[in-house]
């Protein structure tokens, strides 16, 4: 069997999780609790094995022909639009399927423990498998339309899994919010596809034009910006980032798999896949880079004050995704992919670790009532500490290589503004991650029996929604920490405990990967394996390397130094934990801007006000005037016009047979007369 024959079997990779989803949806209830999880995990594990085979088959091909397109069947033969259900295997998509199935199978394994005793256990795994299938279709699709199929599939699974505990209203609402926000981006995807088809007559990647000669600048800019809109929605970038923090209502494995490691990187994948359009449009590149940079910075500033461990990680994810967009925007595609891989490792580990903390702490997610957990869950603590050092950019862990490569690439490509933003963002990353680790695992133990003093005079009822009335709190309390309701510890007498091995193993594995992930792409000549591997997918993209090794080294050390400052700053603030559960030292230091950051710049509230106020009014006006009067009026008007016309004709058909006979007789007589008189002349 040659490598190409093997690569033609790539359909097996998505088929395995699809099989799992179908089996579990049909027979899940009968299969029951432990087995359903093992089936799902086993199939994704098998898909990982198949992906490995694909990887080696791809490695076997000569570097300049590392593309294999196979067509399963014709999906849509519609005139000039001809779409095949096909798979496009190149180094980019093979990288992604390794990531999806590898991290995916670890998270499936973890879910077996995490979802233990859940009411809808088998359905959870069915959706998780369906998600893996959709994500694989997204990255393997041979055309924009097949990718779009997967794109919508992952959106659907994201919705279903965020709302897994739909009995909780917040979960149901968060699912809807994610779904609706993603639709905004999907409009961009659809319009981009229309434009691509109208301009080039095909949607398949293999027939995309290459180079500035084949693509006019204006069209490329339009396509790239529309695809960017889609990517911004899926990858939770400003201004469509608001769904991701709320998506944390879903079970933690879902947050780890979908909202950190894989689905949210689909936007980065799409931009990488469509890089031919970005390459010829420097305007679109600039927009991508700045959206990424601004998101990286602002989300980082918000993350430093979140009291909820998962929301802090969610804002961190938004920020890290911003770095990936920044990398794409400056043309450093392989750096973006490198970041995606490393981020999947360390953020997957952090989310799974957070899930383990929540699991061991009786579903309490508030970091203000944690502390000193390393005594109770040593393995989780150790893994998360490794992941923390990785994300903060401490050498030689993976985050150091991946993030610093992006930041130094920005410098080398003379984007100094983005470079400064990247460095400041790195400092914030170090601060919020250090805060998270120290609040959770170090300092004083606050998990029970701490006096909970609500801010001010104590007349407030516990505030549930973080948007509600922060200004009132700020007025009554000189140190507003309550941006999230009062901290409520777990029930007394239940100390935290370590999670079962089936959960600890994936966390530890991901921590190990987060530690050594940098090996994939070391910044030394001939050790940039990932860059070389991805070269065939990003043909024609200029590479920029530092003039000298020393120069590159100095750049990376500068970033590291700044990150170290962030770590030390947060360490001094949080090394002893919190004296009072509702007093956050960072909050007090920041003073008046703390509520602004804690509430994510009131963006969410602003959007709610805008959509709920003027937006609703406009929609109501459209409903009352345009829809009812104009559109319905036109339809009904045509109907009644024909009704009126038929009323006259209706009189002729009165049902009297003899009148019909008379009409026939008169008609026949008239016809006869006509023949006799006119034709007989």
């Amino acid at each position: 069997m040659s490598s190409r024959d093997l690569l033609d079997l790539i359909w097996i990779v998505p088929a395995l999780p699809l099989l799992g989803a179908v089996v579990l949806l049909l027979f899940g209830k009968r299969i029951g609790e432990p087995l359903a999880g093992w089936i799902a995990t086993g199939l994704v594990g098998l898909a990982f094995g198949a992906s490995l085979v694909m990887f080696f088959a791809m490695l076997d091909l000569p570097t300049d022909v590392r593309v294999n397109v196979m067509t399963l069947y014709t999906w849509l033969p519609a005139g000039t639009l001809h779409v095949d259900m096909g798979f496009y295997a190149d180094t980019l998509s093979v990288t992604w399927i390794l990531l999806i199935t590898g991290v995916g199978s670890l998270i499936h394994l973890y879910s077996i423990g995490y979802m233990h005793g859940d009411e809808r256990y088998s359905r959870f795994f069915a959706y998780l498998n369906l998600f893996v299938f959709s994500m694989l279709m997204l990255v393997l699709g041979s055309s924009f339309l097949v990718t779009f199929l997967g794109w919508e599939g992952v959106g659907l699974c994201s919705y279903l899994l965020i709302s897994h505990w739909f009995e909780r209203n917040a979960a149901a609402v968060a699912g809807k919010k994610a779904f609706v926000t993603n639709r905004v981006g999907d409009v961009g995807f659809l319009l981009a596809m229309f434009l691509i088809f109208a301009s080039y007559g095909s949607l398949s990647y293999a027939s995309m034009p290459v180079g500035a000669k084949a693509i006019s600048g204006g069209t490329a800019t339009a396509i790239a910006l529309l695809l960017l809109l889609a990517a911004v929605g899926k990858s939770a970038q400003i201004p469509l980032h608001l769904w991701l923090p709320d998506a944390m209502e879903g079970p933690t494995p879902v947050s780890a798999l979908i909202h950190a490691a894989t689905m949210v990187t689909a936007g980065v994948f799409l931009l990488c896949r469509a890089h031919v359009f970005l390459d010829v449009s420097s305007d679109a590149m600039t927009v991508v880079a700045w959206i990424g940079g601004i998101t990286a910075l602002l989300a980082g500033t918000v993350a430093i004050l979140q009291p909820d461990i998962k929301r802090a990680l969610a804002y961190s994810t938004v920020s890290q995704l911003g770095y990936m967009f920044l990398a794409v925007g400056i043309g450093a595609y392989s750096a973006a992919v490198f970041m995606v891989l490393c981020h999947a490792f360390y953020k997957g580990c952090l989310f799974l670790g957070a899930g383990s903390v929540i699991h061991g702490n009786h579903d309490v997610q508030d970091m203000r009532v944690m502390g000193r957990f390393r005594k109770f869950m040593p393995y989780t603590a150790l893994s998360m500490v490794v992941a923390w050092l990785a994300i903060a950019g401490v050498p030689p862990l993976s985050g150091f290589f991946s993030k610093d490569e992006i930041i130094s690439q920005a410098f080398l490509r003379d984007d100094y503004g983005l470079w400064v933003i990247g460095i400041i963002g790195a400092a914030f990353t170090a601060v919020y991650m250090t805060r998270l680790i120290f609040l959770t695992f170090y300092g004083n133990a606050r998990y029970e029996a701490l006096p909970v003093i609500s801010g001010g005079s104590g007349e407030e009822v516990a505030v549930e929604e973080h948007e509600v009335d922060i200004t009132d709190d700020a007025d009554s309390d000189p140190s507003p920490t309550v941006s999230y309701g009062d901290p409520v510890p777990a029930p007394v007498g239940h100390p935290p405990h370590e999670s079962p091995p089936v959960m600890v193993f994936p966390i530890a594995t991901l921590a190990f990967l987060a530690a050594i992930g940098g090996i994939m792409n070391l910044p030394f000549t001939n050790l940039e394996w990932l860059d070389k591997w991805l070269e065939s997918s990003f043909r024609g993209v200029p590479e920029v390397s530092p003039d000298s090794f020393i120069g590159g080294f100095a750049l990376e050390m500068l970033t590291f130094a700044i990150a170290l400052c962030g770590i030390l700053f947060a360490y001094t603030l949080y090394k002893k934990g919190l004296a009072r559960a509702d007093r956050d030292p960072l909050n007090e230091k920041l003073g008046p801007i703390a509520p602004v950051l804690g509430n994510a710049y009131y963006y969410d509230e602003g959007v709610s006000r805008l959509v709920g106020g003027p937006g609703r009014a406009v929609a109501g006006w459209l409903d009352r005037v345009v829809d009812t009067k104009i559109i319905d009026g036109a339809v009904n008007g045509v109907g009644s016009l024909f009704g009126l016309m038929s009323r006259g004709v209706q009189q002729l058909q009165d049902g009297r047979v003899r009148r019909y006979a008379l009409a026939i007789a008169v008609g026949a007589g008239a016809g006869l007369l006509y023949v006799v008189i006119w034709l007989g002349r």
Partner: protein, 109 residues
């Protein structure tokens, strides 16, 4: 013996046919009983048949007679269906007056 030769020419047949057709047509228009109207239709059909045969003889063309066979067979079929309908009507209601059978008309207007 010079008997006035009373030769029956084609015209006689045509006049008879016209008379029969007129009787049928007038009957169809004036009578209300469905059965009688049905008989009038038959009368008209046969008047036409007579005309066809007369012309076939006069013009020495067999095709006129062929058409008559067609008309006869269609008329037979029509009788079978029509009589069936009339019987069904009689079973549902006493009497069969054509003017009463207007149920297919839109009753709302």
């Amino acid at each position: 013996m010079t008997v006035a030769s009373w030769e029956i020419t084609t015209n006689y047949y045509l006049i008879l046919g016209a008379l029969l057709f007129t009787i049928g047509a007038v009957g169809l228009l004036t009578r209300r009983n469905v059965l009688v109207m049905f008989m009038c239709v038959e009368l008209m059909l046969n008047a036409v048949n007579l005309t066809f045969v007369a012309f076939a003889d006069a013009l020495n063309d067999i095709r006129g007679q062929v058409i008559v066979f067609f008309v006869l067979s269609v008329a037979a079929a029509e009788v079978a269906v029509g009589l069936g309908i009339i019987v069904a009507i009689f079973r549902r209601r006493r009497g069969a007056t054509a003017d009463d059978l207007d149920l297919l008309k839109d009753s709302t207007s």
